[in-house]
Symmetry: C2
Subunit: 281 residues, 2 copies
């Protein structure tokens, strides 16, 4: 695996690959890689000839009160994992490389950025769209691969590609989970032993809500039940049942449903979702 | 079971019992009875002829920020439990009966009231001593029975009996526990489902500390280990390893050791302890 730290060197290398007729997949990450990230690499390997993984903790998607400074990093383990899974290039740019003139976002994410996680993280998705646009400009991948845990982010990126008329296909993988159902996340490292023990309740509440939805329970009732089951020390940020394609209210024409939620458990923000086809369409 | 609400009626009834040569045991409670309380009644039955259980939520042992107003009560279940276990009298006085002139404590508990739970509940043990003195004056029992969960309270009451030269023997019973080790407490009702699931960690930390003590670990180390294992959402109030008879530092002449701790879990304050004989005396 080549480790490349500058945009110039990366573009030179990728130019050579393209000259050989090779296609390129991008797996953008913030490091602190877990098994879910490595599954992104697997997916990228099946989608293109060359896999470029990047590690860049993007400052513009963190608010001042968030965990930018202590975001977990594990560079040696990350490198080993990426080599093991067959990534071809690890791109490790500096903040200076990515934002040479301290420029702010030139892409307005719009309404979808104000929903769900956007309510409690108002600048987050502008920062995500900014850094993803920037990486798309630099890498010009044929495919980019994202996880479905960050479902709202995935929808925002799909919208961005469409609006910017980019010729990039967006691939995604299902949420990778620990054996007890907890969605894998770099931030799970923040959980205390006791919180880690409780954390699987979060996914259980989503699964219970799905089961209640499928047995015809009214939305208000199933959401209230979920709120009750996620009592202290969970602090519920949101718990919503929406059209999975629009992230708005379910209508008669909705084909897929998403049950999506965010909670705080102590200092740790957890998100999770379940997407499923409506059986009664 | 006779239910008696006035001091006059109680004293008249108990006078008749005494005239028949019967001895009297007192089981003072604040209601919200659990299996541990009912074991106090069993103990009282084996200690005297007549068992007087009382239910009185004593306002003078609650600070303004504490849970006096929402202390759990379950009068019907309490009555049924006391009848089933063979209590002879249930004494249910009003606050006006117990504190007719809004009098404050005439008994100074002294140093022992400032330790452990007394640090975070500074008026608590003065209130306990006040109400127990008052009940001793009213009931004049031969025996009074208390639980060992409130170990500091038990020591304070033993001291009070000695200082006041009362002819009352103080009996106690071991901590009654749920099957997962959690010490029974009326306040366990405050725990959320998730907190209830975690709560047994508290007793596990005490048992681990005992095991570490017995294998010779230094006190600082074993206390630090306990602090670590009781991470979020537990908030440790204190965790101490002391001479069980004096509640002060262990010395070469200490015969029994107590590991005693208080934590908060959400809004719920939990206390627990383990008392054991020093093997190396």
């Amino acid at each position: 695996m080549r480790i490349i730290e500058t945009i110039g060197a990366l573009q030179e290398h990728l130019g050579q690959c393209r000259d050989q007729g090779k296609t390129i997949a991008l797996v953008p990450t913030m490091g602190g890689l877990h098994a879910g990230h490595l599954q992104l690499v697997d997916k990228a390997k099946t989608s293109a000839d060359i896999v470029v993984a990047s590690i860049f903790v993007n400052p513009t998607q963190f608010a001042p009160n968030e965990d930018l400074d202590k975001y977990p990093h594990s560079p040696e383990a990350d490198k080993k994992g990426l080599v093991d899974r067959g990534a071809d290039v690890l791109f490790l740019p500096s903040v200076q490389q990515i934002y040479p003139e301290n420029q702010t976002s030139d892409y307005e994410v719009g309404e979808i950025a104000a929903l769900l996680c956007g309510k409690s993280r108002p600048i987050h998705f502008d920062g995500v769209a900014q850094v993803v646009s920037r990486f798309f400009d630099i890498v010009e991948p044929d495919v980019a691969v994202f996880g479905e845990k960050d479902y709202q982010q995935l929808q925002i990126i799909k919208q961005l590609v469409k609006r910017q008329n980019r010729n990039i296909s967006i691939a995604s993988i299902e949420i990778a989970r620990e054996s007890d159902g907890l969605a894998m996340s770099t931030r799970n490292k923040y959980l205390s032993t006791s919180e880690r023990m409780l954390a699987p309740h979060f996914n259980q509440a989503l699964r219970q809500a799905k089961s209640n939805y499928e047995s015809g329970m009214a939305l208000d009732d199933l959401i209230n039940k979920a709120r009750e089951s996620l009592g202290r020390p969970f602090e519920l940020d949101y718990f919503e049942v929406l059209d999975a394609n629009t992230l708005t209210q379910i209508t008669t024409s909705s084909a897929d449903v998403i049950i999506v939620s965010a909670v705080k458990l102590g200092i740790t923000r957890l998100i999770d979702n379940i997407v499923f086809r409506r059986s009664n369409v």
